[in-house]
């Protein structure tokens, strides 16, 4: 029997968005475009135009040992070239950011190869070979999972995801990496991910209106779509909770199951 992956339970708009982002067959909607130079400036791992630094010679020249796994697994572009490991990290506001850190991890692991991803309460990091990081970061920033106001590209001093938004609807950033340009209505990065000033401001486009964000979010919220409105999600959450509480690490041993 062939199963079709459901990814997450539920029929609400929030569940549908979660499924959409996790399904590798679904292509992210492109909402803005960012040039390669802009991306390199924002990430701050190398100067624009600079070559990728490497930590080992290209795999073709290395003469790898005979290994069935190495034959089976196609290396990523970055691994082939021997790039350094670099990262990109996003902070997602609790005020209807298009995606949340945990769902980022789920989506990344369904979509990207050769990554290590880490989840914290408000932020999500991807570590990978440098050119792979740039490829993934570009796709994510240009896609519907990014909102200039509610998502931040932050390497350090990331807090602000649970702080009230400011008057322009921007998530608080203690390092003031981005500013709201009132004339153009766009959000502009004036510092890179690590908080160092960059040569010229990089525009990441206009923030999306609230109504739009509420349709795109993967967040159950009492003032949006409440988790109690989606019985299937609630059922699964309950099953996991009670299984873990009474069964510990062996939820199958739970009494009555």
């Amino acid at each position: 029997m062939v199963y079709k992956a459901q990814f997450v339970p539920g029929e609400s708009i929030v569940s549908k968005n979660r499924k959409k982002y996790m399904d590798p067959e679904y292509k992210f909607k492109k909402l803005r475009s960012l040039s390669d130079e802009d991306l390199v400036l924002v990430l701050g791992h190398r100067a624009p135009g600079e070559d990728f630094k490497s930590v080992h010679p290209p795999l073709d020249e290395m003469g790898e040992p005979d290994c069935i796994i190495r034959e089976l697994v196609e290396p990523t572009e970055g691994a082939k070239a021997g790039d350094r490991i670099r990262y990109v990290q996003f902070t997602d506001s609790v005020y209807f950011a298009p995606i949340t850190p945990y769902q980022r991890a789920w989506a990344y692991l369904h979509r990207y190869r050769g990554i290590d991803t880490g989840t914290l309460s408000g932020r999500q990091i991807i570590e990978a070979r440098e050119r792979d990081v740039e490829k993934y970061a570009k796709e994510l920033i240009e896609s519907e999972t990014f909102d200039p106001a509610r998502t931040g590209i932050r390497g350090r001093t990331v807090h602000g995801h649970a702080v009230r938004l400011d008057e322009n609807g921007l998530m608080f950033d203690a390092m003031q990496r981005y500013i709201f340009d009132a004339d153009s209505g766009e959000v502009k990065y004036v510092k890179n991910m690590g908080g160092e000033p960059i040569d010229r401001p990089v525009s990441v486009g206009k923030p999306l209106p609230d109504e739009e964000l509420e349709k795109m979010t993967t967040m159950f919220r009492a003032d949006g779509v409440s988790i109690t409105k989606d019985p299937e999600v609630l059922e699964v959450v309950n099953a996991v909770h009670w299984g873990r509480t009474f069964g510990g690490y062996k939820s199958v041993n739970r009494e009555g199951q």
């Binding site: 001093t157 009230r164 938004l165 400011d166 008057e167 608080f172 950033d173 203690a174 390092m175 003031q176």
Partner: protein, 107 residues
């Protein structure tokens, strides 16, 4: 509690710029029976931006009408919404810590 003045906390639903907070306080100070106004916020790391998150208004009376006037000012100055609460939010008497620090002179 009768000798302690009541207070109102205004909690804007968005972080407010210092200019807007000052304009709000100026308007609040024109209301009768408003004794003292204060605000609290926080600085960005490079100290370039200050955001205001809490505003406290000390009143000289328990009358409900003052609250209505405060709400009128807030409706005008905080279009994105706010929460308002009555109670006591700032310090009104010396604490034990103040005695320990020696900032209160014993009579």
């Amino acid at each position: 509690m009768s000798d302690i003045n009541p207070e109102v906390q205004i909690f804007p639903l968005r972080l407010v710029s210092e200019d807007r907070a000052k304009a709000l306080l100026a308007d609040l100070n024109t209301i009768d029976n408003v004794k003292k106004t204060e605000y609290k916020g926080f600085l960005s790391q490079d100290k370039s931006v200050f955001k205001v998150g809490w505003i406290w208004v000390e009143l000289a009376t328990e009358e409900e009408s003052v609250l209505g006037e405060i709400k009128d000012v807030c409706d005008r100055q905080l279009p994105f919404g706010y929460d308002i609460q009555r109670g006591r939010f700032t310090k009104y008497r010396a604490t034990t810590a103040d005695y320990l620090r020696g900032s209160v002179k014993e009579e």
